[in-house]
């Protein structure tokens, strides 16, 4: 739009005369010599960026004023064409009031939690001979999930662990898998007879590595489950909900978010504070930050050799389209 955008470069070419570089800062550098020092370049870049942002803001303000002026006759806001908005139609999307799905969910494995018959009791363990980072991750999960217990694996077979956990009345089992000294996968088994899910962990950052993070508290958190639209997504969302106690303590202002986007589940843990009379919420990040990707969901407790799989990600068959998602 304006000619200033390519400003500094054009000026350099236009300058005739000796090519003595000016090492002093300031916008006078544009006139002196052909070469511009590094600091000047950075400053020019910053100026251009600010100018662009200001122009963009100006355009947005104009559009906003126009829309307000026209009121009802205004042209509706354009919807950006994103991969989510052009998602392939999925038959399994759960409609708002689907009698059959509701009936199915009333009688599935999580019904006892949602009917408040059982309270969650979580057991966290890891692969045998786990390294520091995996233990650290397990401790962070323990801080996040109230009432979780960590046990080291000591080479016990998973099926035996499942058996022992059921005897001790645990409701969920989380096993953190390790590869190359980093946690890379998670087996999530809902206990009495419940489904087992296998997630891959990507992009794990610990609380210490997050800038401006805070200390967690013991209050029961609120749980937010975003964007789990399909039937499979519903099952997975209910699995996550079963980890946390029923009654969130709003006094603690703690919230755990599982946000699903394009089949990646983002886990975030925040403390919030309402500002501006409840119109905005300021967030302080606590706890780990990681993404999960569902690989398979099995009906029944952990039994990969003999159990029946409810859903398996088959890459060559399912990952053929960029606009097809399953959760």
């Amino acid at each position: 739009m304006s000619d200033d955008e390519g400003g500094s470069r054009m000026d350099v070419k236009d300058i005739p005369g000796p090519s003595k570089a000016s090492k002093k800062g300031g916008d006078i550098a544009l006139k002196k010599g052909r070469r511009i020092s590094r600091s000047n370049r950075a400053e020019n870049a910053r100026n251009i960026k600010m100018k662009k942002a200001a122009e963009k803001r100006g355009r947005q303000e104009e559009r906003k004023k126009l829309r307000e002026k026209l009121g009802e006759k205004a042209v509706p806001k354009e919807v950006p064409r994103t991969i989510e908005s052009t998602r392939e139609h999925d038959v399994t999307m759960v409609a708002a009031e689907d009698e059959e799905v509701e009936h199915d969910e009333e009688h599935d494995e999580f019904a006892s939690y949602f009917n408040r018959d059982t309270t969650p009791k979580v057991l966290i363990t890891m692969s045998p001979y786990a390294k520091v980072k995996t233990w650290k991750f397990c401790y962070e999960l323990q801080k996040c999930i109230p009432g979780a217990d960590i046990f080291s694996r000591k080479n016990v077979a998973l099926k035996k662990i499942v058996k022992q956990a059921i005897e001790k009345e645990y409701t969920d089992l989380l096993v953190v898998h390790e590869d190359m000294k980093m946690p890379n996968a998670m087996i999530f088994c809902h206990l009495p007879e419940g489904p087992t899910a296998y997630f891959k962990i990507n992009n794990l950052t610990f609380t210490k590595d997050i800038k401006k993070s805070g200390e967690s508290t013991d209050h029961y958190p609120e749980v937010i489950l975003n964007n789990f639209n399909t039937r499979l997504g519903h099952s997975v969302a209910r699995m996550f909900a079963c980890l946390f106690p029923h009654n969130p303590e709003f006094k603690g202002r703690r919230v755990v978010t599982f946000h699903n986007q394009r089949d990646y589940i983002f886990f975030r843990h925040h403390r919030y504070e309402f500002k501006k009379e409840g119109k905005k919420a300021a967030l302080l990040e606590l706890g780990p930050r990681f993404t999960l990707r569902l690989k398979w969901l099995q009906k029944g407790t952990f039994d990969t050799t003999g159990g029946e799989f409810e859903w398996v990600l088959k890459r060559h068959e399912m990952e053929t389209s960029r606009r097809r998602f399953f959760l």
Binding site: V91, T92, D98, E99, E100, V101, H103, D104, H107, R231, K299, T305, G306, G307, E308, F309, E310, W311, V312, K314, E317, M318
Partner: protein, 458 residues
Amino acid sequence: MNDCYVAAATGCLKGLSLIDHTFLNLNSVKDLQPKQDEISRMVFGSPDQNQLLYSTASRQIRTFDTSTCRREDLYTVPGTGKINGLYLTPTDQIVTACETGSILVADRKGTELATMNGGPGLLCMNGCGDRIAAGGKDCPVKVFNLEKPEKPTWISKNVPPDELQLAIKIWDKDVRLMPNTETLITGTGTKTLRLYDMRAQRRPVMQLKWMESPINAISLSNQDKQIYAGNTHGELGLFDWRGTRIMLVCKYKGQAGAIRSIYGHPTLPYVASCGIDRFTRIHDSTTRKLVSKVYCKTRLNAVLMRDELSIRKTAKKEQEEIEEEWAQINQKEPKTEADSDGDESDASEAWGAIDEESESGGEDEESDDEEEGDDSEDEGDEEAADEEEESDEEEASPPLKKKRVSARGDAGKAKPAPTKRAEVKEEVGSDDDDDEDDDVQVISPIKAGGKAKGKRRK
């Protein structure tokens, strides 16, 4: 209407329509208690395939009549354990097998006729004619003759231990007796398909290890010496043993979860499979293509297909109707010969060309014609009239239109056709004046439609 019936793990019976890819709940969902009503096995209860006979988790045997939509509870199988096998003999006796190994032969009222012991851990039971075969976990396959139920006529033997001298588990998840032969096939939890010959030996004659998960379900196919098998990972394959060993012919892709039940149609090349990923899929067994996929909202336990499928019906019906048309055209042609100015040779060629055009564009025209009201039909007529004018074949317009109407399969609209024939003849006659405007009419059908409306009002 219902081509296919599936039984859900919640106890719901669903009828599927394969053309529409939709399902209908045959019993009401609200009254179901999955813990008691879960349907474990289902077979056709009558030769006309209008009755479904199924067993529930509460050990009840029930029938459901699809024509009257009424459910009838027959009897409760005494004892304990899940019912893992259900078979209806040709003499209308019901054979049920449960987990504890007791196999009960009863009539429809539940009076016990015979009992057999299949061994504890029984997972599957199926029959053919007057024989049944049963097998399970640590329960070798046994074949009983229903006329002499005291002792099994044949018991299988486990394969020898493997290279490490470890015993291979007996774990037969599904068994089928091949009709009119002494062979039976089992799909095992140790990922093998086994073929037994009862005349030859007690150990399997042929074996095939397939993929890395237990084989959950098998089914006979319309071809001899072929079966379908599906495993817990959602892989469905067709196997053949016409030679010396069992070979995989092809796989049918699509299932995302464990396959609980497969039904290969006895005469047509279709295979239906259902599983716990809540979908029922029907594949064409020769082309391996997915013919129909229906989302059924609940985990599915059993699937059955009727002998007459609607997908085959429409194709057949269209063929018959086309043949009728031809017969009528051949009758009419001598009458209209005197009126026509065009050549007969051109007529037959043009008719062939139009036939191809209409067939290829038939879907578009049909979709146009599905709009209610005369307007769309006028447009359609005009389009047809245009096509014929191009080739100077005006007499062909009435039959062409009638063909399109009947191809829609709508009997109601067949009646207006004869009257319209007369009208179109009039229109066609007047179109002679507009021969110069041929190109214009073809390019802008809306304009042509308008013209037709104008003519009608006259």
